[in-house]
């Protein structure tokens, strides 16, 4: 089977905008979602800024039942519910189906379950009060809690998978959902990912000295992918979600189609040849992008925009070098490239799905969102791809094909190719 797969619904909980209209406005106008966090200063973190969506759990009032909401404490699950249910209704569905929807599944990713909840559990157990924990802890500290809440609410009955692949999680979730539909195993998939970086996760990254630390007094300038002054990434939280459908199925009910997923790939460099727990093997990255292009049956020349991983570390330059090799394009001939992380930071597991939502919006509205904080591009990057391909202002242009990739700890790579939907294709 080789079914075509289209995107019919979008949802997002981003530090610079919740819901598609606000998020679209934010990315067109280069609005940062990075803020100074007093708690992180109190905790003596080097990095004291992060991206946090303006979201509280009570905002789920019309999304889940009152009894579900009572006792729901996990922010990561909350973000995921909001994004997934928004995508679901955006695709023209009502939230709760009476019957199980056997043709519809869900792949939703996350990296760490709520550590605040785990801390509370540990405290209770250690003070010999485990019987006061109640019934709602397990479902919120299990990694699959997020898919359990989403699919239970929607009544989904096809494949239900909670995936985890560090910073490639979101891209992998979308790829898995795409593959199930492509191979005829499902008609629809709700896909996406979520991340809530609380102080405990943040502290562990801070200790690795990979986070930005020089811009604590200017939070909006802290996330600077591809710039000469980039000094580490800015952790972030949120969720992105999409509804994917078999093209024939979508056309059958006159769905509004945002874009098509042409193909994608995921692999690992095996932590060999320069690859490690924390750094990618360049050969693996290049193979992954090449394979995604091959599966998509496109010419690399047709790619208009690269939505990079580009976190604002020294790896940015290596990533761009890999893109030039994988696409066989460099200098002025390189496509436009941008990093959503310049506005919202690096939301780890959620990065891939929020960035793919941004990519779909750019295809759908014909623009390339700006790279903010790129007044001083890294000269080595400029040498590789030319300053003209690093837009710092919103760029109105025809965007037909986007390559989106993310790379994660464990030397995991994932790449997706999406295009404008054209039924004659």
């Amino acid at each position: 089977m080789n079914n075509r797969v289209v995107i019919t619904g979008l949802g997002v909980v981003s530090p610079n905008g919740i819901g598609i209209p606000d998020f679209l406005y934010a990315i067109q106008n280069g609005i940062s979602g990075i803020k100074f966090i007093p708690q992180f200063a109190d905790l003596n973190f080097n990095c004291q800024v992060c991206g946090i969506p303006d979201f509280e759990l009570h905002q789920l009032k019309n999304y889940v039942t009152e009894t579900t909401l009572y006792g729901l404490k996990s922010k990561g699950i909350g973000y995921g519910i909001k994004a997934a249910l928004d995508a679901w209704t955006d695709a023209g569905n009502h939230i709760a189906s009476e019957q199980t929807l056997w043709n519809t599944g869900c792949v939703f990713g996350s990296s760490v379950s709520d550590t605040e909840m785990i801390k509370n559990t540990i405290t209770r157990v250690d003070s010999k009060e485990s019987k006061k924990l109640g019934s709602r802890v397990v479902e919120q500290i299990m990694n699959s809690g997020i898919t359990a809440y989403i699919t239970g609410r929607l009544g989904l009955g096809n494949k239900i998978i909670n995936n985890s692949g560090a910073c490639a999680t979101g891209t992998q979730a979308i790829l898995l959902g795409y593959e199930y539909i492509k191979h005829g195993m499902a008609k629809r998939m709700v896909v996406g990912s979520s991340e809530f970086v609380d102080a405990y996760i943040f502290g562990a990254f801070d200790s690795m000295r990979v986070l930005s630390r020089k811009f604590n007094s200017h939070p909006e300038q802290a996330s600077r992918p591809m710039s000469a002054s980039a000094d580490g990434f800015v952790p972030s939280s949120g969720a992105g979600a999409l509804v994917l459908e078999d093209m024939e199925y979508a056309l059958g009910h006159n769905a509004r189609i945002y874009a098509e997923i042409l193909g994608g790939a995921t692999n690992s460099g095996g932590q060999r040849n320069g690859g490690s727990m924390t750094a990618p093997n360049a050969e693996g990255v290049i193979k992954c992008i090449e394979e995604a292009i091959e599966i998509s049956k496109i010419d690399a020349q047709s790619i208009d925009l690269v939505s990079g991983h580009l976190t604002a570390t020294i790896a940015d330059k290596l990533e761009i070098q890999n893109w030039t090799k994988a696409l066989g394009r460099k200098g002025i001939n390189f496509p436009k490239i941008n990093s959503l992380k310049s506005m919202i930071g690096h939301s780890l597991s959620a990065a891939g799905s929020i960035e793919l939502v941004a990519a779909v919006l750019q295809i759908n509205n014909n623009f390339v969102h700006p790279n903010i904080n790129l007044e001083d591009p890294n000269p080595e990057i400029v040498d590789l791809i030319g300053i003209v391909n690093l837009p710092v202002k919103n760029l109105q242009m025809e965007v037909n094909v986007i390559a989106k990739a993310n790379f994660g700890f464990g030397d995991v790579n994932a790449c997706l190719i999406i295009s404008k939907f054209n039924n004659n294709g």
């Binding site: 039942t65 009152e66 009894t67 009572y70 006792g71 019987k131 109640g134 019934s135 709602r136």
Partner: protein
């Protein structure tokens, strides 16, 4: 605290766990928590934890296992309150 007072207090304990708010107003000793109020059976432990803290009592596992109807809840709570007192 008499049975009526316990029942009225019990309504507040049960409220967050049922979507059937209108039925909650008219509960009596025969009301079944799961069948009538549609409370998720897994949440019965949360109701017991909440009752323990509200009435300042401890409900052992064997007593908790009987608490499926409003009447049975009142029996256990009534006994524990008077036992403690």
């Amino acid at each position: 605290m008499d049975r009526i007072a316990i029942l009225n207090e019990l309504k507040k304990v049960l409220a967050p766990y049922t979507e059937r708010k209108e039925m909650l107003e008219s509960i009596n000793e025969q009301t079944d928590l799961i069948k009538d109020l549609n409370i998720n059976s897994a949440n019965l432990v949360d109701i017991i934890i909440e009752a323990e803290s509200r009435y300042k009592i401890e409900i052992d596992i064997d007593s908790a296992a009987k608490m499926f109807t409003v009447g049975a809840c009142i029996d256990v709570i009534y006994l524990k309150i008077n036992h403690t007192a």
